[in-house]
């Protein structure tokens, strides 16, 4: 399950960004993950649950935004949302398309508490992934 390695990279970044911002507690981590990234949402959440205890992300909500698979046809110049394993232009059936979105694996933003006060923020009591 490579989601463990991916989550390790994610937490490494979160720790570095927390340190740069003098924050000790992340409350929300927002990701953008496309179907063609090779990463599966439920497995990433499982990996996150395994790895976050004791980290700066221990109490953070993990918000994963899905992206559609969209291609641009190099022939008719139309953009279309397509299935993950059929990146063919639905208008002219050409397979010579460019992927516009769908393979994202991005850390978009992080919300931090600038002081380590998890007991002061009510929603952290219910934080889960």
């Amino acid at each position: 399950m490579h989601e463990l390695s991916i989550c390790q990279n994610l937490l490494e970044q979160v720790e570095q960004i927390a340190a740069r911002n003098h924050a000790r507690c992340a409350t929300r981590i927002v990701l953008s993950i496309g179907p063609l990234s090779g990463v599966v949402d439920p497995l990433l959440r499982q990996a996150f649950d395994l790895l976050r205890p004791g980290s700066v992300a221990e109490h953070a909500d993990l918000d994963i935004q899905a992206c559609p698979v969209v291609v641009l046809c190099t022939d008719c110049d139309k953009e279309s949302e397509v299935p993950i394993n059929q990146l063919v232009c639905p208008h002219c059936q050409r397979w010579q398309t460019t992927l516009v979105s769908g393979d994202e694996l991005l850390l978009l933003h992080i919300e931090f508490l600038t002081q380590d006060q998890p007991e002061n923020v009510n929603h952290l009591e219910n934080a889960h992934v």
Binding site: Q13, V71, Q96, L113
Partner: protein
């Protein structure tokens, strides 16, 4: 009530609340989740460019013929170019030992339970090579059609093997892997007479419908069939990266992909 900080705790050893309110701060990032890995991979890429090494990452399911392909490639090129290999497997040194029997340096990474190679693992074995004496470094990745495609190793090109016994619909079943290919090699074509359900044109169509734009070559390594086109593609990729190298093509085959990082 605690007289020190005003909280309701009766435990006099509790951590006192600060007097100021907590502040929420949003930090916009917009980086690749694997950015720490990518930094390492980019470091490898710079070293490979400086030492003039073409790095080719071979990926496929287990048993598709990666090691056999390497053995045949070594036989074809060892008098012209210096080749070295990094082998990735969960366990054993079997594949590295096969390569070493050809007089080629092969370093084995045994990943234990990791289903892929990553840039940090490559970093652990790179010091064992004299890279400035190597022309082509092959990385034979862990046999797996899912995970290896996600990890940048600093390679110049991904070559993905699809063997005839696996079936001709694998590209559309594993689009992430096959989309990463700079070359798709259909291997074990010597099985075609008995694997009658496999169609070369369907395999290529399956590759194209997932947006695979790379060339497709066919190979039967034990029979040496298709090897000249594969060697031509390699030499073109090598020449393309190091444009000062002049290489004669053996077959005149020109439909080759640029090696892309």
């Amino acid at each position: 009530m605690c007289k020190t900080c005003g909280c309701d705790s009766n435990d006099h050893q509790h951590k006192h609340l600060p007097q100021s309110a907590a502040a929420l701060k949003r930090v916009d990032v917009h980086t690749h989740i694997l950015q720490p890995e990518e930094v390492v991979a980019d470091g490898h890429r710079q070293v490979f460019a400086k030492d003039k090494v073409l790095v080719v990452n071979l990926m496929s399911s287990p048993g598709a013929g990666k090691t056999q392909l390497l053995e045949n490639t070594i036989q074809a090129l060892k008098d012209e170019l210096t080749i070295a290999v990094i082998e990735g497997d969960l366990d054993t040194e079997n594949d590295a030992q096969r390569i070493r029997r050809h007089g080629i340096q092969a370093e084995q990474i045994t990943t234990g339970t990791a289903c892929h190679l990553d840039a940090a693992m490559i970093a652990s074995v790179l010091p064992r090579f004299s890279l400035d004496n190597i022309d082509i470094l092959f990385i034979e990745n862990v046999g797996n059609l899912i995970c290896p495609a996600c990890f940048d190793l600093g390679q110049d090109a991904n070559v993905v093997l699809l063997s005839v016994p696996e079936g001709d619909d694998k590209p559309e079943k594993y689009p992430v892997m096959f989309r990463a290919a700079d070359l798709m090699l259909i291997t074990k074509t010597d099985y075609l007479p008995i694997a009658t359900e496999f169609s070369i044109s369907r395999a290529e169509h399956s590759f194209r419908r997932i947006g695979g734009s790379a060339p497709v070559l066919e190979l039967a390594a034990p029979l040496d069939r298709g090897m000249s086109e594969w060697i031509d593609w390699l030499l073109f990729a090598y020449a393309n990266k190091f444009s000062t190298l002049s290489v004669a093509s053996s077959s005149g085959h020109t439909d080759t992909s640029h090696a892309t990082p």
